[in-house]
């Protein structure tokens, strides 16, 4: 086990499962006002990896084919999810179906515990991650900030972890920043991506300043007044946050410290103005 200590990792490149990605922003493709806006938002975000899903197709339906054409035109890598799955079996079967249809062995593994919080069902998540890894999948698990669960997921074969910032779609940002910092410090070499709960670019920047390797978001862009412009705003925030982390942020202090040099201050020898001086 690693000791908890501040991370000093500073690497320019961002790679998941040995694949280098030019952007640390991972974008969801759901809930956009139109396919056109989705396409432009993905472009504006600079994202090289976008999440997709599988849903039931009606008889003689062509919805899936049209969506595939749209995604193919974006020239990005896809990350199929297992959204909505509540059991290990559902998640494993969904992942297997996704691998065939999308032609990728990457999967954003979700096993959902509760309809209100959409929080990960971590016991099933660990089990499904092990089964899928043995079946050749590259698993990116949507998990909580729990350290012990993270260790189990790594032991199960996951090479990336995606802890939540806050419940999916809630826009609350990093609800447990302390625990997320601990997770970052505890696994300095594991790619960590904040997945879910991001509402504003400042939330994404905060995650990146902490040293997280990337941010996966959807609703905050898709439901924005101007999704395309918001996608660009997130791209800048994530880039700024990463640059800040790599540059080494200063620590916080309790008291003020002058930034302008004290030596040579005019009138310095006269002491404080009367009335502000202590009793003589």
């Amino acid at each position: 086990m690693n000791a908890i200590e501040p991370s000093t990792k500073a690497q320019g490149a961002f790679a998941l499962y040995g694949v280098e990605l030019a952007s640390r922003l991972l974008l969801g493709t759901a809930q956009y006002p139109s396919p056109h806006v989705l396409a432009r938002a993905v472009e504006a975000s600079g994202a090289r990896l976008v999440t997709v899903s599988l849903r039931r197709e009606q008889a003689r339906g062509r919805t899936g084919e049209r969506f595939l054409e749209l995604i193919a035109a974006l020239n990005v890598r896809v990350l199929p999810n297992t959204a909505g799955c509540r059991t290990v079996k559902e998640a494993v079967t969904t992942a297997q179906m996704a691998r065939e249809v999308f032609g990728t062995d990457w999967v954003k593994l979700e096993v959902i515990a509760n309809d209100d919080t959409l929080q990960p069902e971590v016991f099933g998540l660990v089990e499904a991650a092990g089964l899928l890894t043995k079946d050749g999948f590259k698993v990116l698990p949507y998990t909580t900030e729990d350290l012990s669960v993270a260790e189990r997921l790594l032991a199960a074969g996951c090479e990336v972890l995606m802890p939540w910032g806050a419940p999916i779609g809630s826009g609350r940002g990093l609800a447990n920043a302390y625990a997320l910092k601990s997770l970052r410090a505890y696994f300095p070499q594991v790619p960590l991506i904040i997945d879910a709960g991001i509402g504003a670019p400042s939330h994404a920047a905060e995650a990146m300043e902490m040293g997280y390797d990337g941010v996966l978001l959807n609703t905050a862009v898709a439901k924005a007044g101007d999704p395309v412009r918001m996608a660009g705003a997130f791209a800048k925030a994530i880039e700024a946050g990463r640059a800040a982390f790599e540059s080494g942020l200063i620590g916080m202090r309790d008291m003020a410290e002058p930034s302008t040099p004290v030596a040579g201050t005019p009138f310095f020898d006269l002491g404080a103005p009367s009335g502000h001086r202590g009793d003589e």
């Binding site: 997709v52 599988l54 849903r55 197709e57 899936g64 079967t93 297997q96």
Partner: protein, 72 residues
Amino acid sequence: MDQTSLARTIIVNGDSVATRAGTLAELLAELGHAGRRVATARNGDFVPERARTATPLERGDRIEIVSPRHGG
């Protein structure tokens, strides 16, 4: 026609469907999915494309037919 070609009731994507299809591949053709980018499961288990012609349908089978969609 022999007994196996008689209509049987199965569940397709949660809905009850009467079909004469004897295999999963025949069902997909019947529903207009032949040659399309769909994935399938039978009774909760993934059925790869190559196994569909050899996957028989039985009364009460639960079939899932899914295709790509938006996702988060």
